[in-house]
Symmetry: C2
Subunit: 303 residues, 2 copies
Amino acid sequence: MVELIRRTLGGGIETAGLRDDAASVAVPGGGSIVVSVDSVVDGVHVDLGLCSPADVGWKAVMGALSDLAAMGARPLAALVALCAPESESGDGALALGVMAGVAEAATTAGCPVVGGDVSSSGGLVVTVTVIGTTDGETPVARSGAVAGDVILVSGPCGRSAGGLRQLRAGTAPTGGLGAAYRRPVARLAEGLLIRQSGAHAMIDVSDGLSLDLHRLADASDVGFHLTHIPIAEGATLEEALGGGEDYELVMTMTAVDARRLTERLAQAGLRTPLRIGLITGDKNERRLGDHELERQGWQHHIG
Amino acid sequence: MVELIRRTLGGGIETAGLRDDAASVAVPGGGSIVVSVDSVVDGVHVDLGLCSPADVGWKAVMGALSDLAAMGARPLAALVALCAPESESGDGALALGVMAGVAEAATTAGCPVVGGDVSSSGGLVVTVTVIGTTDGETPVARSGAVAGDVILVSGPCGRSAGGLRQLRAGTAPTGGLGAAYRRPVARLAEGLLIRQSGAHAMIDVSDGLSLDLHRLADASDVGFHLTHIPIAEGATLEEALGGGEDYELVMTMTAVDARRLTERLAQAGLRTPLRIGLITGDKNERRLGDHELERQGWQHHIG
């Protein structure tokens, strides 16, 4: 999207911050907001054969909120645009189901839904815009990583992808992997503490640990050397590297700040982050152990 | 949508303001924003056989901005979620065309596009979220009309619907009606002056003068008595009453303020508003001349 916007919007339109998960907007009268939008399309991002309409609504909200988490922002409000096919029974069951999931996720995250739009369409599309704040502090960008930073991830990866595999195979989801696919959770509380602990750069794992880490390195003009890949129980290495929608957070910071963050998260009763490697100064170095790490993950194709 | 949100979100979620065109959100650190979202779906709101991809992008942005105009707000930023089918040629022509129209409209309105999302989908859906401000002043709601207010509309109605009719018939659009359909313009400058002139209530004509005026009256718990319907040249009475997407603004205010508004608009080089009737205290009175005015216009069905 970033490239598409840049190519078409060109000069005269604000493009700073387009590389980040969410954009900052100054508000007259003081203050500023961070905003992001995400669409979930049936048949592309989700499969209504594998999850319920409410799951789709939930996933759409959490996916958008994860972009706020990745900036270290807390949510203020959400808007939901629901495009749904007319149902044969005419009872609006699909739309109502989606909105029930939207409501559950919004309530869970403490993010009021303040507006929306409903349309008929050929296929189900749920677009969620979220508005958040960092309460006057600077949001964490993707672009701040510096050589020597440690790289951490907020939890083991591959849960959602593993859950999707199990659901497709019809095998009973174990270890919560099916739930991880159907009901992912944006790491909002973690994102706040990560920002407050001095993170230099952050991104959420929406498209795959590998691909999203490459994006962070691209934005920061740095390289990385990974020494550990935390694989969720029941998931594969490939799922951990290439599976999106786990919404774990990847961050870089000094080793001292990383220790402080670990303490803070533990004190807050949250999971402690896992150290997976180091940021290096050579932007062409993208290593996992002794091998180059390919850009594995969900690529958004258009055209 | 409002009803759907209310039914599903219930208690605990902010529902105040859901009846208005845009919702107000307080921003920590001072200030507040008004926000709105709108989707344009090919085959439902637009027909790619009758307008270009760039027209669709333009219409999506202007439709969303019109909700800000109806609050008397000026735009700060927009976010665009584009869901488009993969094209056979794989060159992304459809997506690029839509984004070109988005860029034109955003530039025309002075509204930077700060973020977005692109997905593949079965059909084209363009969802635009707009964020605006009233610079510390109170936005104009739909609900403030009081008995004795004069009702004005910012310009003659039915242009877009007349243009659509001509385009469908393959007759050469005259009087700019085809352009009115393909390139409608949100009345942002007018909306600001209307708010500043003390309007009690305002709504934009997105679904039809009749239907949108009924909505304003419903929200204000009042009736109305119309004496004039300003029909755009080349349009029919039915198109003026029931045709949406003209994005003219309907407002109510005292007769004194209406005269002041007319002067201000003229001084600004903008069209002067047309007085079409009076607000009455009987909420069951919804008259055009001696007859009851039916709710004609674009109804959003879902289910």
